[in-house]
Amino acid sequence: MNALLVRLLVSRIAIAILTLLFVSVAVFLGTEMLPGDVAQAVYGQNATPDAVEGLRRALHLDQPAYLRYLLWLGRLLTGDPGNSLVNNLPIAELVATRLPNSLMLASVTIVVCVPMSLILGISSAIWQDSLYDRTVSLATMSLVSVPELVIATLAVIMFAVNLRWFPALSYSAGLLSLNQIFQLFALPVFTLSCVLIAQIMRTTRAAVIDCLRSSYVETAVLKGARPMRIVLNHAVPNAIGPIANAVALSVSHLLGGAVIVETIFNFPGLGRLLVDAVATRDMPLIQACVIIYCAAYLFLVALADIAGMLSNPRLRH
């Protein structure tokens, strides 16, 4: 670690924090565009001027927008984003029951995907332009361009309806046996993996091929090293930076897909909580969920950048 590297890292982290602040302002403004206000919406038909006025004061809606933003931000940072408008439960509690499931889903997907996509990416770089490479490329290109809902639908038809390996939709009630946990996760993980593997594999292949074009690989070829050795000992170690970058970026794209996949499979995660909140226009809950997703996204993008910086040898001396 040297001074330049430390300065780059610190500035990258500062940028991430500033961006998150900007995002929080944007989210706050976006949810404040609602015609009419929350107090009116809560009481609906039963709104009496007194009741609406009381709630408005309780929710600080009589304050100017920037004060309400600061108040909201302060409560968010101290871990108390208030109550849901729909069922009046504390948002922190709702998120706490859902977030671990979503994190679990994401981690299982990453553990399944990363080794598989690295093997696929490196092997198709080795046998570049072969029938194998073309087949894998066509398959991943198709997977990248198909929405999660189509993959999920076809996966259910194949595994649940034709092969009868799993129930079609996830469920969870009380304690789960190991077998039930597997069934709960199998199809959502499969669907997310299809997209993630395709993305990571394509960037891995490109990164390795890029290294194969360099002059040190040419030297290795001239000295008579076998193709397998050239790829594994010369090209792959140099492609690790771009690959780590690609993995972090792909995982950040996974977040949006997870929202859809959780909804499709009725998976009790943060994504479904968010979609349900949007359907019932539960603004405080939407704000909290969106900020969590955006924070995770910005963290992963920053991680991708940092991986890129650390792997750049020009910054090591």
Binding site: G30, T31, M33, M141, V146, P147, L149, I157, S252, I260
Partner: protein, 288 residues
């Protein structure tokens, strides 16, 4: 008086085309895309049944002569509903992408040509906006404004504008640095003239490629939104809504749920095949 125009005028008769301009994959993609565009335009007129009429006593009916793609959860004709839905799936995505290109593209070229503080301000603003994941912006805006076709178009257009701006600005800056633009500027031509006559004709290829990819992402985003019930609202239905409303037929493998899913997949794979096989000089680097 674009340089481009003169070139084609001279080259066209001298060089008869011996090869197809597209590879096999590109031709397949172009055919699929053309097919769906035609369906989107004439779909409602060739639909065999009224898309809203309850016709079949059998719910989730199988494929047969009267209902070539089966019937849905209310006994409506699936083929007719897909033909009518094409207009929503393709129409909304096309209009939204077009608006995004109009806004992002003109601001991008303006930023590239003006340079200085205009470029700085616009670039910073769009860089910040691009850091919000597209599905999150869509959910927030739909929660705030409710879901309707105009809101969906505006939302998707707004979400894609920063990305379009980035690509167009990058391409325009490269052209802007070339001598003939400097000459035009020295002649005292206006900014509008520079954009229209010097920049635009020279970035049209990559910009078309970018349009294709954005259109595909728009279709993906819109069908996902409709699928979770936040996109096109009943009684109207795009292909994502069709998959959603027939999801109960999934356990029986009903064609009512498989066919709209296949329609989405063929359209997006077709666009990607076409864009992937466009001439290399047209390529633009796009991140989603």
């Amino acid at each position: 008086m674009s340089v481009d125009h003169n070139n084609t005028a001279i080259e066209a008769p001298a060089q008869p085309r011996r090869r197809l301009p597209l590879s096999l994959g590109g031709m397949v993609g172009a055919t699929i895309v053309a097919f769906w565009v035609v369906v989107a335009i004439i779909g409602p007129y060739i639909a065999p049944h009224d898309a809203g009429a309850l016709l079949d006593d059998d719910l989730f009916g199988h494929m047969r002569w009267k209902f070539p793609l089966g019937s849905d959860y209310l006994g409506r004709d699936v083929l007719s509903r897909i033909l009518v839905g094409a207009r929503y799936s393709i129409g909304v995505a096309t209009v939204a992408t077009f608006l995004a290109v109009l806004m992002g593209g003109s601001l991008g070229m303006l930023a590239a040509v003006s340079r200085g503080p205009v470029d700085m301000t616009l670039s910073r603003l769009f860089d910040a906006l691009i850091s919000i994941p597209s599905k999150m912006s869509a959910l927030v805006l739909i929660a705030a404004l409710g879901s309707s076709i105009p809101v969906l178009i505006a939302t998707v257009a707004g979400i894609f504008t920063p990305g379009v701006f980035r690509i167009w600005r990058g391409l325009a800056i490269n052209v802007n640095a070339l001598d003939f633009v400097e000459v035009a500027r020295a002649r005292g031509e206006s900014t509008a003239y520079l954009i229209r006559e010097e920049i635009l004709p020279n970035i049209s290829g990559p910009v078309l490629t970018d349009f294709g990819l954005r259109f595909m992402f728009a279709v993906l985003l819109l069908s996902s939104l409709s699928f979770v019930g936040l996109g096109v609202q009943p009684p109207d239905a795009d292909w994502g809504s069709l998959v959603r409303e027939n999801i109960d037929g999934l356990a029986d493998g009903a064609p009512a749920v498989i066919m709209p899913a296949i329609a989405i997949a063929t359209l997006t794979v077709g666009v990607n095949l076409l864009v992937d096989n466009l001439p290399r000089r047209w390529s633009s680097t796009v991140e989603h």
